[in-house]
């Protein structure tokens, strides 16, 4: 028996650890560093119908125990992602979760319908929470009704289970979670970045050319963990948790709070080997805590 194995809608994970969307490109760079088949899954960079060049630079800025980014969903567009990236990824034994983005419902539907047919795409992640684009993205993620409708529309065309990625920039994340569950979502991924800003103290100008950016990294972990804990109580679909995960203790905390699997974003930049390292440490940590399997651990904070 594989103690780390985790079964989620569409995803038969050999372990519950995967890189988060946008922090791992389409895997090619990290493939030079380690075997991608070690990963539980890969959440690839957001894909839109057309090629996007993203926002002007600077696009990143460091903040206390965190960073801001405003990449702006730069990606080669649906066709090239399917032809070049996904096909290339087929050489690895790893399920792909395709992060789907767009300006309009039609955009999401177009990408979802096509990309869900790729043989190695086992699930979609609807990015209704990107804070760095003027249209689309977060606007879908802050209104429960719109989120529900979008989920429904995508579910109707997707060949694989649909996860919805929630934004933390809302008054009541539970409400959005329940709405997407009602819309037919098979799972939830959370959280995307918190909207933040940094100024250049000398000039007073925003450091990020886009003015604001998304805050990620250890700084946001307490917010992410609280939201996972909260949403886990309110929905019955599984959660893939993320936000500031960098250490094995962080992994345990998110699983305890009710996430069935976790994603690692910013920490890949700090240590490009972080995902395989965490996967390697997990069994040992389970022993230390007295749990046989990852599944046994999931949600333990709610059972105390």
């Amino acid at each position: 028996m594989n103690r780390l194995a985790t079964q989620l809608p569409g995803l038969s994970l050999k372990n519950p650890i995967m890189p988060a969307s946008g922090c791992f490109g389409f895997g090619k760079e990290y493939a030079k560093l380690y075997d991608l088949s070690k990963l539980g899954a890969i959440m690839i960079k957001a894909t839109t119908p057309e090629t996007r060049l993203g926002n002007p630079t600077p696009r990143v800025a460091e903040t206390p125990a965190g960073m801001l980014n405003a990449i702006g969903l730069q990606n080669p567009g649906l066709n090239k992602v399917m032809e070049n990236e996904l096909t290339w990824l087929e050489q690895y034994e790893v399920p792909i979760i395709a992060n789907v983005a767009g300006y309009t419902t039609e955009d999401y539907v177009t990408v979802a319908e096509a990309i869900s047919k790729a043989p190695n795409v086992h699930a979609l992640e609807l990015n209704i929470s990107c804070p760095n684009v003027k249209q689309g993205g977060i606007t879908f993620g802050t209104d429960p009704l719109i989120a529900e409708e979008l989920t429904k529309a995508v579910k109707a065309v997707s060949s694989v289970p649909v996860y919805v990625k929630l934004s933390p920039n809302v008054t009541d994340i539970g409400e959005i979670a329940k709405a997407v569950e009602a819309g037919g979502a098979d799972g939830i991924t959370m959280i995307n970045t918190l909207l933040g800003m940094r100024l250049d103290t000398k000039t007073g100008r925003p450091v990020i050319a886009n003015v604001t950016g998304g805050l990620s990294g250890p700084a946001i972990k307490p917010v992410a963990l609280r939201m996972v804990y909260d949403v886990a109580k309110q929905v019955s679909i599984p959660i893939i948790g993320m936000g500031g995960i960098a250490t094995i203790d962080d992994v345990i905390d998110f699983l305890s709070a009710g996430a069935s699997a976790v994603a690692v974003g910013t920490a890949n930049f700090v240590d490009p080997f972080v995902c395989p390292k965490l996967i390697e440490k997990l069994p040992e940590k389970l022993d230390e805590l007295g749990f046989e399997t990852v599944t046994d651990l999931v949600g333990r904070s709610h059972r105390l």
Binding site: C23, L33, T51, T57, R59, A65, Q74, P272
Partner: protein, 258 residues
């Protein structure tokens, strides 16, 4: 191959006001291929400061497994780096990116090397490699003022060296372009690293020459995955953008929109 290694500090010393020379040792040195490549350093084991810092490789010594960097202690991260002492460990990711090509020039030809401020360090290893090859380097190095001039002697040993300071406190006064105007342009290839404005001026000055320019951008991953460090391109190449970390930092002149 890109590797991550805990490398040991062999020496750290201040060589000008706020400018430090740091020598590390470890087997990662064996993978360093080209002058102009860089490393990505963690400056602390804590989560703050969080991100790695990109620093150019300034000298490579494969025999001793040592390499040297020169950097300005400017913000919090580099200030922390400057506190590292002999025997301390530094978490290094590298070597990264593509450096200055030395196969674009022949023995006997002249090369123009133009550096500005903390853009000077990578030119040192480049110059050494060019000299080894039989190329004759001409160095034009610009600094803010006398207090931050470094490595003059080292460059002189390798070839003609012109120092220029913005405030005129050392060498000639003005910008590197002021010096360049006074020099013959009988060089085959020019190489440069420094502020983008300087790189732009060079491209304008030598539109017909073959040139290689090293660019800077804020970085996330440093390995090409996060799209933080992109630059727009000109019509000269097909790609709509390039990534400084993995496609660069060195690009042929005219490729990056400046």
């Amino acid at each position: 191959m890109i590797r991550q290694e805990q490398m040991e500090v062999v020496q750290q010393r201040s060589i000008a006001t706020n400018i430090f020379e740091l020598t590390l040792t470890g087997s990662l040195v064996l993978d360093m291929k080209q002058p102009g490549q860089f490393v990505h350093l963690r400056v602390s084991d804590q989560m703050e400061p969080l991100l790695r810092r990109p620093i150019s490789i300034s000298t490579i010594n494969k025999e001793t497994l040592e390499f040297t960097m020169i950097y300005r202690a400017d913000g919090r991260g580099t200030a922390l780096l400057s506190e590292k002492k002999q025997g301390d460990q530094v978490d290094v990711l590298g070597p990264l990116g593509n450096g200055f090509p030395i196969d674009k020039i022949e023995a006997g030809q002249k090369a123009l090397l133009v550096g500005g401020g903390i853009g000077v360090p990578p030119l040192y290893e480049l110059s050494k490699k060019l000299v080894e090859k039989g190329v004759q380097p001409i160095h034009v190095l610009g600094f803010q003022s006398e207090s931050v001039v470094f490595y003059e002697k080292q460059f002189i040993e390798l070839g003609d060296t012109h120092i220029v300071t913005a405030d005129g406190s050392y060498g000639s006064a003005g910008f590197v372009t002021n010096v360049l105007e006074t020099l013959q342009d009988d060089f085959a290839v020019y190489y440069s690293c420094g502020p983008t404005q300087m790189l732009a001026a060079l491209e304008k000055m030598y539109p017909e020459k073959e040139g290689y320019l090293s660019f800077e951008q804020r970085m996330g991953c440093g390995i090409g995955a996060c799209f933080a460090c992109v630059c727009d391109t000109t019509e000269k190449i097909e790609a709509d953008y390039v990534k400084v970390c993995s496609d660069g930092p060195v690009f042929p002149s005219g490729v990056v929109q400046v």
